[in-house]
Symmetry: D2
Subunit: 342 residues, 4 copies
């Protein structure tokens, strides 16, 4: 049993962490905090939890929480997260940070992307990118895990096997992603007002979404020389559903690769992965099949001699955020990866 605290329990990722931790047989949830003036029952914020926990959401007292909890999940906005990660790390706690603050290897990219100076550059060097299927060995021994963004998870799980296998790609990789509205967070806005986004679809942040540099960096790192210069075009769309991301990925093959080689590459990378489900040839995933799960379903097809389409489906709040955080937790603490996640 590991004592766990969740910092940032009022947002959707925080809520999902609460849900998952309450069901996890090796987690004892001991504290929830957020930017609140005074403690309030989490079941007031989220009536879903009535009867399941008596925990209060409290102001964040790092010292006290460090004595209570061994592992800390942080689901705070970028910029804010840094301020809390550092003290928890210094007291020796293990931290799973769901913000963007520690995801980047190149701090400059972070600083440009988020238009802010990074205050914890040294710490950032020690952080491990928590894409479980690709970084398992490093995650195992890390003290600070930067849990990937929702869009990067959906995109990278489709792209990295190809890149890692050394297949040369022409620029650009195109990721056309479609997300449910919970991805926009819990704060009501005009865009997420029901009568505005229901019965409608739109693209947003075309050509400048913050997840684009994150995806790009991880492709470059994974691909070595072949992928060093490959460019990414990322187009997110908002669609009228609550949960799920479907990523339609267009890969331009710079060399001839046979269908059976693609099949073999995916099989080699994912054959032993519990949370990756490769669909049979010609089948493509639905987000419905992964909703409320930590699975990533993947289908693919060569639609032209040099064009490979890979389509991935995840639940943005589970595999795209809190579920993957718990998966990393399981890796760190030596529990089977699916513990508490099925």
């Amino acid at each position: 049993m590991v004592n766990v605290a969740i910092i940032g329990a009022k947002g959707y990722a925080g809520k999902e962490l609460v849900r998952l931790c309450l069901r996890h047989p090796e987690i004892r949830l001991v504290a929830l905090t957020d930017l609140v003036e005074q403690p309030q029952p989490v079941s007031e914020q989220f009536p879903e939890f009535r009867g399941l926990t008596e925990l209060m959401i409290e102001p964040t007292d790092v010292d006290r929480i460090s004595t209570q909890a061994e592992a800390i999940f942080l689901a705070l906005p970028h910029r804010v997260s840094q301020e809390y990660v550092a003290p928890f790390i210094h007291t020796g706690r293990r931290v799973f940070d769901l913000s963007a603050d520690f995801r980047f290897t190149r701090i400059e990219t972070y600083e440009q992307t988020y238009a802010i100076e990074h205050k914890e550059k040294e710490l950032a060097k020690k952080a491990v990118y928590g894409l479980a299927e690709f970084n398992r060995n490093k995650i195992k021994d890390a003290q600070l895990i930067a849990v990937p963004g929702c869009y990067p998870t959906g995109a990278l799980l489709g792209i990295l096997p190809i890149v890692r296998a050394g297949v040369r790609l022409d620029s650009p990789i195109i990721v056309d992603a479609k997300s449910g509205v919970s991805g926009a967070g819990r704060k009501p806005t005009e865009t997420t007002h029901f009568p505005e986004c229901n019965e409608s679809i739109m693209a947003y942040a075309v050509g400048h979404h913050r997840h684009q540099p994150e995806i790009e960096e991880k492709i470059h790192e994974a691909g070595g020389e072949n992928a060093r210069d490959v460019r990414l075009i990322f187009t997110p769309h908002l669609i009228p559903m609550t949960r799920g991301i479907l990523s339609t990925i267009y890969l331009s093959l710079a060399e001839e690769v046979a269908e059976q080689d693609i099949a073999r590459i995916f099989q080699e990378h994912y054959g032993g992965e519990f949370f990756i489900r490769l669909l049979p040839a010609g089948k493509f995933p639905t987000t419905k099949a992964v909703t409320y799960t930590n699975f990533c379903d993947i289908g693919w097809k060569k639609v032209a001699e040099h064009l490979l389409i890979v389509i991935t489906a995840i639940d943005n709040l589970v595999k795209g955020a809190s579920g993957q955080a718990v998966q990393c937790f399981n890796i760190c603490y030596g529990f089977p990866e699916q513990t508490g996640l099925v």
Copy 2:
């Protein structure tokens, strides 16, 4: 051709008025206003109108608008509306007010319901309740028409024929209403945030919704002695769709009334009404069939010796607000009632 201005063009009722007025062959839309600091194209607020009108939404200058427009549609919040209705009336303009301010015969009921003192009591006495099918003669010559609320329209169109026919009812009349989210207005709130109201249904304002006294007063006025003391229970629900109200009405018959008498009553009241569609016996309406229209579809059934269920469906923004306002406008100016509405 009548010159028309819309005051309060930034809300959903205002937007619907713009849509309807632009299509109306006898309306020349000359001004749009709202609480804005400086003029902005209405097509920026609502991209739907791009290419259809060059009109700006401007701050409300009563004097100027009174010289431009002969008829004024007001789609402002209650309380605020009073302040604008009075000066327009004094300059001789005809006013169609979509707020609650002038709907009540008994000012005390208004003041209790909305917890505010009414500032235009004299004016209120002259206002005519704009339920077109029941008040046509008074609407015709009125200078100030108080357009009914969305829920009252759906409820009253189902109840009034029975009450007017002299059928005695036992208390309470129960109106269980289900509304799309546009009924909650354009301002984003936690309740109307897509991930909160999608895939969910809830009742709200149970036992104390402001439309309850409005419906009740009109029943009492319509029914004479028989209905004077009948009580209303009104339970509104929010359901995950954008437009439409379905009102399921339970009427407790205090006397034996045969099915064919019910049929006859509805036929007598609505047989000549273009916008009321009586469904065949045993059929019940869907909101889908009335979406974007000014129709009210009505089905009914005696389900027990003394219990009559009447179900009505309207589009809350058309027959429940702006469409009915235009219908009243047509009555006032002598145009066929369906002008611009089909």
Copy 3:
């Protein structure tokens, strides 16, 4: 560990049973069957289960399954269910039947309601109605549990405490229920075609839904003399969401009952119930808070001297079907009731 088989695994209730059984720590799922010509992987029917189970959906071989499984969940249509329940019972298996076939005490009511002769009248006498919170003691020792319908569950959980407490009610009790579309089953129809039911709401089976006699019988049985003659009016509605039922219940109090007495009654009945969550005064439930759970959330309010509104929310596929079946299973086998359900 109990070996379990699911008969009727291709429908939505069957699918939900598979989901719940796979997560249940005391259940070993050994067989799935349905009307199929030859075995096919359940993960082909439902891609959700890929990677979670290798089980096939097979034709129903009662003899073989009786040797494999100790407990049988049946999720078949009424009429068909009888044919399978009997042989399983005769081989000594415990049966949890989700159809309507064994829910009625009065066989005549069943036969009238479903317009069919009951072929297993003797067996029907031994069946226990599986409304867990009210029949726990009988369920414990029963061999045949008739799991309540979805609408009856939502209605009865709101009504029975009042009736059992001896509060006298005037006729009719009105249950205005709103259901998500999964309640209509898995077979595509015009009514459930997305473009038809999306953005729409309608009432259906007004005054003659088959769940009405089921609810009525259980009220009569629970209420003794006071409730013997009370009539029920049941109006189901289809709303554009996948899961959930909200039941708005109007109870006409034949005697004066204070608010604190209502509160006390609910508290006495449900204070110790894990799966019933009484909301604080003035709060009303949303279906969202119970989606994918076995909870029933209940709010209530006296809105007039003699009118009590009770509103209940359940997930129609969990507490309204498969979850309740598992809850009964837990009772029968002596597991804590929430085992596998949280």
Copy 4:
């Protein structure tokens, strides 16, 4: 006034034609037909039309209809459509065919795509492709207009201006399209069953959708030498809404083209087009803004030196089908193009 008949009035395109024709000031709707055994009121098929028309849907009697109607809208499935188009043409009627049967210049492409022999090859040569903004002059004098498919309309309106301007493109053009469920037609299927497609998104017909060759042929014809060999990758997705198509188009520029040149190209082609709305720089369309209209909203952005994203939004049933048919009708008969469409 032109007498009009609609053949195939039971499907969604047919329904939309009825809606549009009823509002069209220059159309007298004289007959509706479909594959029915005996006549039935169209208002039984579609309660939306109750009170608006008394027309019956009748079996298709070509001779009789040819005497009644001057213009014929056909909304039949491909293959079936051919059988009716020919006799109507031979009797001198003008035909607006919404099927795929007469859209292709190369009959072989049609035959391969639809896996059927074309029975009216001579007639096919005379047909004019009814993409109004690009074929206006030919449409004007045509007797047989092949109204474009919904996806082709959304794609071509974004691509053709660039291609026609002589901009050289590298292969492939990628069109990632997202459609509401009404695009799948009126027949209930497992895919379009509400609980299956609600809260989900999926790609389908990846790499082999029948609209791909249609789009490709029109690009090739429009582009002359530059575009002759450009390949198209078309990926349609089904999303949980009723109406609308958003097409995200990725164009790989084979040469340097400045942003202002793109702007100029779009402006030159569409500056005078009523139904095409170019959005300001950096703005992208929503389907909501075009729902129930004949508009196509277009936004675009150069996101890399050689990559241009163009995004178009249409209502699949209006500009993507029936509205465009009416627009073509207006062109043929010399009415202003927006007649009956605003």
